[in-house]
């Protein structure tokens, strides 16, 4: 059942991506001041949003774990965090390449960039910490604590472009500005690509959570063998 769902999601994402890529390169005109490079926004922003949503969904599962002690919630949270880290890294790398062309530098210690880097480092630490701790309950409790901490930083990432004015542009999406800051055709393509990346993220999280259950099964079989 899970495999079929993953295949279905992958197929859906492939169709959506094909449509989006066609639209990005063959339908939309070049942006007036930035030309071709502006198209990087179609991966940079959606990847960042997918990563951020993932961290908050993981937060919900972590809180459920803390409330009920069910390790399955911890496994789901861990799977989502891992996939979200990948998308957040995509966000940082594509942003850095974009910055090289527009700002002339690969990196600057801007509030947005720095808080996003800190967020990625917190959750990379989360993934590493889980591999270092064998005891499942202790691992789950520490993971949940780190997720809560990481999500505080995610809020800073989200709000930093409103709170501080640095190199990074302010909000442009109409959900934050009420509209008028971005061409509607560009914004529609951006949201469609967000949907495609979200579907890919969901499929990857499903695969990863299956692996987490396999790890739990191996662990419980080994424990049973030693009793």
């Amino acid at each position: 059942m899970r495999e079929k769902l993953v295949m279905l999601l992958a197929g859906l994402a492939a169709i959506l991506l094909a449509y989006n890529l066609h639209h990005m390169f063959l339908v939309l005109p070049n942006e007036v001041s930035q030309d071709f490079i502006f198209r990087i926004i179609f991966f940079h922003v959606p990847a960042g949003i997918v990563g951020m949503i993932g961290f908050f969904v993981a937060l919900i599962f972590s809180v459920w774990y803390l409330a009920g002690g069910d390790l399955r919630y911890d496994s789901v949270a861990a799977s989502i965090v891992e996939v979200s880290v990948v998308f957040s890294i995509v966000n940082l790398v594509t942003g850095s390449i974009w910055a090289r062309v527009i700002w002339g530098i690969w990196w600057t210690w801007d509030y947005r960039l720095t808080s996003q880097l800190v967020c990625v480092l917190i959750f990379v630490g989360y993934v590493m910490m889980r591999r270092a701790i064998d005891e499942p309950t202790q691992r789950a409790r520490l993971s949940a604590a780190l997720t809560i901490f990481g999500c505080f930083d995610s809020v800073v990432v989200w709000k930093s472009i409103e709170w501080f004015r640095n190199n990074h542009p302010g909000p442009v999406l109409s959900i934050r500005t009420g509209g008028g800051n971005m061409d509607p055709d560009y914004e529609r393509t951006l949201w469609l690509n967000f949907l495609a990346l979200l579907i890919i993220g969901a499929a990857l999280a499903l695969v990863r959570s299956r692996q987490e259950s396999m790890e739990r099964e191996i662990d419980s079989l080994r424990r049973a063998a030693h009793v």
Partner: protein, 51 residues
């Protein structure tokens, strides 16, 4: 605008897909390792029960 602009956009798209692809490969490898490990443990338990 110059060709550099297009090249960097290409690098951006390439980097994005490369990162996702590397993760997918790592997932596939981990999946294969876990499947084998699970089979081994089950086999070990079955042979232990026979003895």
């Amino acid at each position: 605008m110059d060709a550099r602009n297009f090249t960097f956009m290409f690098y951006g798209f390439l980097a994005a897909w490369l990162i996702v692809l590397l993760y997918v490969v790592s997932l596939a490898r981990r999946g294969a390792r876990l499947t084998k490990e699970l089979e081994d443990v089950k086999q070990l338990m079955a042979s232990g029960q026979k003895n």
